[in-house]
């Protein structure tokens, strides 16, 4: 797949992923009359909400999240996709990506480089490192499933995927990666990406669906 197609597909997935879900702490409720909590924004702005028929999650009063440490992110991905942590991603086919990009991923390198604490702010390459690991791991899972393992993408075995198949895959991915059932609008949005002419085949859709979920804020932070 060409870089342009991947980029466009990623942009589409990014738009879909940015739509607020019920569990998104950034969602603020309206300061409506009866059943409401005090919104964190004193301006009274209702902020963004989920899909029109979605229940409104009140905003977190503390709104403090932490970024997963590199090994935690790797283990979670490994467990969700049924891959060893050493099978997720290799740079130059040799070097474990989590180790290679440890500082960018929020880790430390105390012995050789005297980096004793994580960087206070993520670097410009931090999201790129996450993306590389997720894209590689998702691709590996798709490849193995198409070869017969059938752990996550069994429905893609024949190279096609009906709407129901896609919904089942997305639901499975969300359950494994985000540890909750998928919201209806998530199923719809990610499944519908297969209709995009820039996504050439079911295999690519599967990899990018996995990538989109694996790189959500909900999976990178906690």
């Amino acid at each position: 797949m060409s870089l342009d197609r991947i980029t466009f597909a990623l942009l589409l997935l990014g738009v879909a992923g940015c739509r607020d879900r019920g569990g998104d702490a950034a969602v603020a409720s309206d300061a409506s009359d009866d059943a409401s909590t005090t919104a964190a924004d004193p301006s009274g702005d209702s902020g963004t909400t989920g899909a029109p028929d979605e229940p409104k999650q009140a905003a977190s009063l503390r709104a403090s999240v932490k970024r997963k440490a590199p090994d935690v992110y790797a283990r979670d991905l490994s467990r969700a996709l049924g891959l060893g942590t050493d099978e997720l991603c290799l740079e130059l086919s040799q070097y474990d990506c989590t180790s290679s990009h440890r500082i960018a991923l929020g880790g430390v390198d105390p012995y050789d480089r005297a980096v004793y604490e994580p960087l206070a702010e993520p670097g410009i390459s931090s999201p790129l490192a996450i993306d590389r690991i997720a894209l590689s791991a998702c691709g590996e899972r798709v490849t193995r499933d198409l070869a017969g393992e059938g752990l996550v993408f069994a429905e893609l075995a024949d190279g096609t995927a009906s709407a129901d198949d896609r919904a089942a895959i997305v639901d499975r991915l969300v359950l494994r990666l985000l540890r909750r059932p998928a919201e209806p609008h998530e199923l719809e949005a990610i499944a519908a990406l297969a209709d995009d002419p820039n996504i050439p085949d079911a295999r690519t859709w599967g990899q990018l669906a996995c990538f989109a979920i694996a790189t959500t804020l909900e999976n990178v932070f906690y």
Binding site: T37, A40, A58, L61, V72, D112, Y116, R179, Y222
Partner: protein, 488 residues
Amino acid sequence: MEQRAHFTPRVLGVLAAIVVAAHAHDAAAQPTGPAAFCAAYPDAPACDAGAAACDTCHETPPARNLIGRAIEEGLLPGEDRPLDPEVFADALPGALLAIEGLDSDDDGFVNLDEWLAGSDAADGDSFPGGQVCDGEPDKSAWRYDVCSYDARFTFTRVMIDVCGESPTYEEIEEVAAAEDPRALIHETLDDCLQSEAWRGRDGVLWQIAHRKIRPLAALKAGASEGDIPLGDYEDDYNLFVYTQIDGHDARELLTAGYHVERTDDPTTYVPYARTPAQDTAARGAGVAQLTEIDRRAGMLTTRWNFVLNTMFTPIPRTTAAAAYRSYLGLDIAKMQGLQIGAALPADYDNKGVAADECAVCHSTLDPLTYPFSRYVGLGGGAPGDYRANRMLSYVDTEGPGIVDTPEAGAIFGQPVDDLVEWAAVAADSDAFAQATTRDYWVLMVGESPRDIDVAEYTTLWTDFEGDHAYSVDAMLHDLIDTEAYSVP
């Protein structure tokens, strides 16, 4: 200089900052400020521990924030600076009263409301309101209950923070559906505290230790030896972790007369007490711990500590400051933990420490350092070797006055005869309990305690040094029940 005992270690530790006048012409915030603020506003959340934090009025002291600058304008204008501390304290309430009705950070809330609500009146992003869940929230429709303890959220956090991986959906739902989710979560914490992710090599506890031990592969002795092997810092990690696990007394971090061996796969930590000769025979001169047992003080007297921090220095101020910062949470470079009114230091090594601009810090730092001065770093003996007459070695380089350097010193204004006593005072101090608790608070909650967290944080560290007898495990069980940790 007259001794002014305005601060007990308790106050110092909770607030972790002492402000010292840096410029003679400025109305500098003085150590009486925090207590005077709380005398005026005793119900302010920031005063739960007795005195307000220095960042109520300051950025890094003595620099003033919006509140500090607002106070400055109305605080005895025209009076010569620096103000006498008592004059300052008497005038401060009036200056605070004058700015109560101002909105210094322009966030829509006047200063008084912010002080009484516990938000930061100098930070426009911190404001009262939005901190109460009122009405009848539809919690059944929420992903997370942001108004109270959330079992799913807390369980997931504990699993990630301590076990190093997220739980599965099934595991989360099992906890949420349990009759007593809290009990299950505490059981999970107990299991996770035994995990390799927590206590194993390069696990979570090692991550805390990195900034205290400051390893350097090039100087490592033993396994994976560096180019210039001088000491094995893995002994330090082993001792650090041992004191933090299995209900051990964390004070032994500073008071232990033993060292710890580690085996991997699975990881175990076993203490041992060998004399330098025995350890040399057992492990070789390149890695042996060379401080006699009766001169040991835990992490303060490891070979690596002396190699890295003391090195060739007769009066090892870096060693003392590193210990003060790492284990007591007081960074002298940020003017924290300074003993106001301490006597001017004698200049044993001709470094100019008695000059006005230097004595501000060195009147505290030098007495803090003297007990470390009898332990060899590099040169003149083996690293960690205690030598009562060590100063004689430095006459040629430092001058004859160096031999007058005492071994007796002081910590928190309390005289101590030697480093072992220094360590005992430090370990029993509120500062140690606060610093240890703070390390885990930052690790687990993800940030330093906010103003609204003062009450919970204070309870946590006082129980740590009280009911929990310095057991980190017990403290963590309390921590995961705090609102700061368990409410999304």
